[in-house]
């Protein structure tokens, strides 16, 4: 902060027009105030008003730009004094540095004329780069001194992509500073208004869009949960599968948009269960062939319901094929190996993982370690090993919240279901998955398993 003030005291003062300076400073303060008022809820990102501070570099030189930058602490917003002054000083220093680079590379201070035009672009771009650089460095220093950046733990992997996106977009805004400067001579104050208006509208629309996205997500989640109320034990299943599927997709390095699609598909993967009669879903004894056939229909049913949600596109296939197996014994189409769409392979692993680690009417929840061992055992036959390993890595790093053990109001344990689950536990202990996976040894077709979802992959929801 002190340095900001000293910077404003030492020169150079050449070409400093006080009237222009005052106008720009006022403009900057107004733009900042508007942007904080309008854009609440938009996190990160530099507001379009930074274009004004770069225009100041051209119009009133480094010192003027520093004054303009410092004026930002006068803007109307909820912020304490220290933070305001720091922000002002940060803007001032960045603008001052940018101004000097601009001068050094041959830029002239003042309203650019027609004949300046191609030549002025190079020093201006350099100024923009300097501005971003100084700004980032100052923020980094602040974060470091506040200890906000933790360097411990595997969680703090450096996410450079969003940061670069923010920097690029803010540089795009700042390039427009040149536009403001260019028309300043002709029409004065109107120029920045004309430049900033579409930008503010764009930001406002983005904010609206964020709200709508949130609303969309909330609605989707609520409706999925409403569907789940049919079965006491599967509460929260869709949200957890969505989470696990997203973890796998992220771990595989998929782009954010695709991760989101797979998340939604994970949320919706069992929506077709609604078409299956409740008594079949909740049946604890052996299923008849017809009942099993009814269950096998649910991925297709689900696909039919959500088919019209066009943005899901390839993730739709994930809903349709989440019960396919690599060895081709899955349903509904019996696809083999890499014929199964990638999203389906992701969701299938996530689905079974959550199924194993949560309590069902016929058995207790497995521990995460046991579930992982089981998934690994079935990798290659039922699951894509890549997906399994991705899930393991993601769970190791981020942990996994198993659902609270739910006791249904009626109390379903202890009766015949308990016997069965005991038998099952014994079988799985000796058979390492074979008993749990009747389909793996080929007799599932003749003898459907005990319950709709006793089996990882083969029959689970």
């Amino acid at each position: 902060m002190v340095s900001a003030v000293t910077v404003m005291l030492i020169g150079p003062y050449a070409g400093l027009d006080l009237r222009t300076l005052a106008l720009i400073a006022i403009l900057f303060v107004v733009a900042e105030s508007i942007s904080t008022a309008v854009l609440t809820g938009v996190k990160a990102g530099i507001s379009p008003s930074s274009a004004v501070s770069l225009a100041a570099v051209v119009l009133v030189g480094p010192v003027g730009a520093a004054v303009v930058g410092f004026a930002s602490c006068l803007s109307i917003r909820r912020q304490n004094l220290v933070k305001r002054v720091f922000n002002g000083a940060q803007f001032a220093l960045a603008a001052y540095a940018a101004g000097h680079v601009y001068l050094l590379l041959g830029g002239t201070v003042g309203e650019p004329a027609r004949e300046d035009f191609p030549a002025i672009v190079f020093p201006y771009v350099a100024a923009v780069l300097t501005h971003s650089l100084v700004n980032s460095v100052l923020i980094a220093v602040l974060m470091w001194t506040l200890g906000a950046v933790r360097s411990d733990g595997p969680r703090s992997r450096f996410h450079w992509r969003p940061l670069v996106a923010v920097e690029l977009s803010s540089m795009g805004y700042q390039m427009l500073g040149l536009a403001i400067a260019a028309v300043w001579g002709g029409v004065g104050l109107v120029a920045p208004l004309l430049v900033l208006l579409p930008l503010f509208i764009a930001r406002w629309t983005f904010a609206q869009q964020l709200n709508e996205t949130r609303a969309h997500e909330a609605t989707l989640a609520t409706l999925c949960q409403a569907v789940e109320t049919k079965d006491y034990y599967t509460r929260g299943h869709c949200m957890r599968v969505a989470e696990a599927a997203a973890m796998i997709a992220r771990e595989l390095g998929m782009p954010a948009e695709r991760v989101q699609k797979i998340r939604y598909a994970g949320m919706l993967h069992d929506i077709g269960k609604l078409g299956v009669p409740t008594k079949v879903l909740q049946k604890t004894g052996r299923l008849t062939d017809e009942e099993y056939a009814a269950i096998k229909l649910h991925p297709t049913r689900g696909y039919e319901i959500v088919r019209e949600i066009s943005f899901l596109d390839e993730a739709l296939a994930g809903i349709r094929h989440h019960h396919e197996r690599l060895d081709g014994r899955g349903y509904p189409m019996g696809l083999v190996g890499m014929e199964i769409p990638e999203s389906a392979r992701v969701i299938s692993v996530a689905d079974v993982f959550d199924c194993l680690t949560s309590t069902r009417s016929y058995r207790q929840a497995w521990s995460v370690e046991d579930a992982i061992a089981e998934l690994r055992a079935c990798a290659g036959t039922q699951f894509d090993p890549r997906m399994v390993e991705a899930l393991v890595r993601a769970v190791e790093r981020e942990g996994w919240e198993t659902p609270d053990i739910v006791e249904p109001p009626g109390g379903c344990y202890g009766s015949e279901a308990a016997e069965e689950s005991a038998a099952r536990a014994a079988a799985s202990a000796e058979g390492a998955g074979e008993a749990e996976l009747p389909a793996a040894d080929g007799h599932a077709e003749q003898e459907p398993a005990a319950s709709a979802e006793a089996v990882p992959g083969g029959r689970d929801r």
Binding site: P112, A113, R114, F117, G172, M175, L176, L178, A179, A182, V183, G185, G186, V187, G188, V190, A191, L193, L194, V195, L197, P198, L199, I201, A202, R203, W204, T205, F206, Q208, Q209, E212, T213, A215, H216, A218, T219, L220, A221, T222, L223, Q225, A226, V227, T229, K230, I271, G272, L274, G275, T278, R301, E304, I305, V306, R307, E308, I309, S310, F311
Partner: protein
């Protein structure tokens, strides 16, 4: 692309699926000869704008283009903007960059070296040519534009050019000045209002709603885009005097940002509606209600609401509520017979409505929708001390009862009988205004 996909979708499942956003696409294209169109305003607008554009083209071609390079550059920018047109919520087509390019060409006074002399005719010709060029690829792949929106875009440029070019000559405006800027801003504002009015007339004609409501909807819907387009248009015209033609590219950048934002916003809105539409079918798949029931109710409710003059935002909420009005049945252990809630006992109906409303309220963002769903089965006077249920609830009640009683393939006679039955109950159960509106909607089918 989006337009096409949606229209395909709604056509595949039948004409009964239009709503405020996906709305009316199946009725949109004229069938039969032009003079028998059900939408005369649209036909008049399109043909007159087409005629003017053609006349301008012929005239300009005959007299020769003044400053052909400038004309060509603007023509190309307009074509590119038209190529990148977007569909905004409510099926409004817009091409912000093309529009801004057209506005700035109408306003262009000089490129720094001497004044420009293109006439208003030439402006219309260049804009029409650019729009046609930009639409060609779309048409080639089968994504025809909405002709009336294209016509409106050309109309705006034509109005501005006709108003501004003579004025500029008369008052000797040659460079950027405060007078010129103010004049441009005022003209843009007036033209924007006129354009919104035209759009509102078209909308009222398409949805059969009231003009006043449509005007308010259009003004609100086009405020953001209009402001962005108008300010960019003026800015480009002014800036090109300093920077030359390079300014045309540089100064479309802020608008490009806005366009991306508009597009993504429209996508989210569309996705939201698609999701609710798709998920409203879970009750059908679960065997709780008859196939297509939610959509038919939503379609009817939309028609009734347009007839009663609901605003766009209310229409959207009503559509959500109508689509999800039976969602409470999901909480029932077993489906009620036939799924027709109108035949269930009042207590049962009340419980379903309340369960559904609770589910919707859970989202935290659709409180009005939840309220409509909660009170959908109350009698006309409401029950308890809450007073009359909201209009949306009354509409859903009528639409739901009608569809439950008529069923999927009701013929003319059955519809009339059901309508008569609903009419008999208008003193206690159903809102007479809503039933009348339903009759009007049905008479058009």
């Amino acid at each position: 692309m989006m337009t096409q996909r949606q229209s395909d979708g709604s056509r595949a499942v039948g004409p009964a699926l239009s709503g405020p956003e996906g709305g009316a696409l199946s009725h949109q294209r004229p069938r039969g000869p032009l003079w028998r169109t059900s939408r005369p305003v649209r036909a008049v607008l399109v043909s007159s704008v087409g005629a003017v554009a053609l006349a301008a083209l012929v005239w300009t071609a005959a007299t020769g283009f003044v400053e052909p390079y400038v004309a060509l550059s603007f023509c190309l920018v307009i074509a590119a903007g038209e190529l990148a047109r977007i569909t905004l919520p409510g099926h409004r087509e817009a091409a912000p960059i093309a529009s801004a390019g057209a506005i700035s060409y109408a306003f262009l006074l000089t490129l720094g070296s001497g004044p420009l002399h293109h006439s208003a005719w030439q402006v219309v010709a260049v804009v029409a040519l650019g729009v046609a060029l930009g639409e060609l690829p779309h048409i080639a792949v089968g994504r025809s534009p909405r002709v009336e929106d294209v016509a409106r875009r050309v109309l705006v440029a034509a109005l501005l050019a006709v108003a501004f070019r003579p004025m500029a000559e008369q008052w000797d405006l040659v460079g950027p000045s405060v007078t010129a800027t103010l004049l441009m801003a005022a003209l843009v504002l007036v033209t924007w209002a006129l354009d919104a009015l035209v759009a509102a007339v078209l909308r009222a004609e398409r949805l059969r709603t009231r003009l006043g409501v449509a005007v308010r909807d259009e003004l609100r819907a086009q405020f953001a885009t209009g402001a962005a387009i108008g300010s960019s248009g003026v800015l480009i015209a002014l800036a090109c005097t300093v920077t030359g033609l390079a300014g045309l590219l540089v100064f479309t950048a802020p608008l490009l940002v806005s366009q991306v934002a508009f597009r993504r916003h429209a996508e989210v809105r569309r996705t939201y509606l698609e999701t609710v539409r798709a998920l409203s079918r879970v009750t059908e798949v679960g065997g709780y209600v008859e196939n297509g029931h939610s959509r038919r109710v939503s379609h009817l409710a939309h028609g009734i609401a347009c007839e009663l003059g609901l605003a766009e935002a209310e229409l959207l909420e009503l559509e959500y509520a109508a689509l999800m009005h039976d969602i409470g049945q999901l909480s029932l252990r077993e489906p009620i017979a036939g799924g027709a809630t109108v035949l269930a006992s009042p207590r049962e109906q009340r419980r379903i409505a309340e369960l559904g409303s609770a589910i919707i309220r859970e989202t935290g963002v659709l409180d009005n929708v939840a309220e409509m769903v909660r009170r959908q089965c109350e009698p006309l006077a409401g029950d308890g001390d809450e007073g009359v249920p909201p209009l949306g609830s009354r509409i859903i009640k009528v639409a739901n009862a009608f569809d439950d009683l008529v069923g999927e393939n009701g013929d003319e006679e059955r519809r009339a009988a059901v309508l008569g039955r609903l009419r008999m109950d208008t003193d206690s159960e159903y809102d007479p205004r809503v039933v009348d509106a339903l009759a009007t909607v049905l008479s058009r089918l």
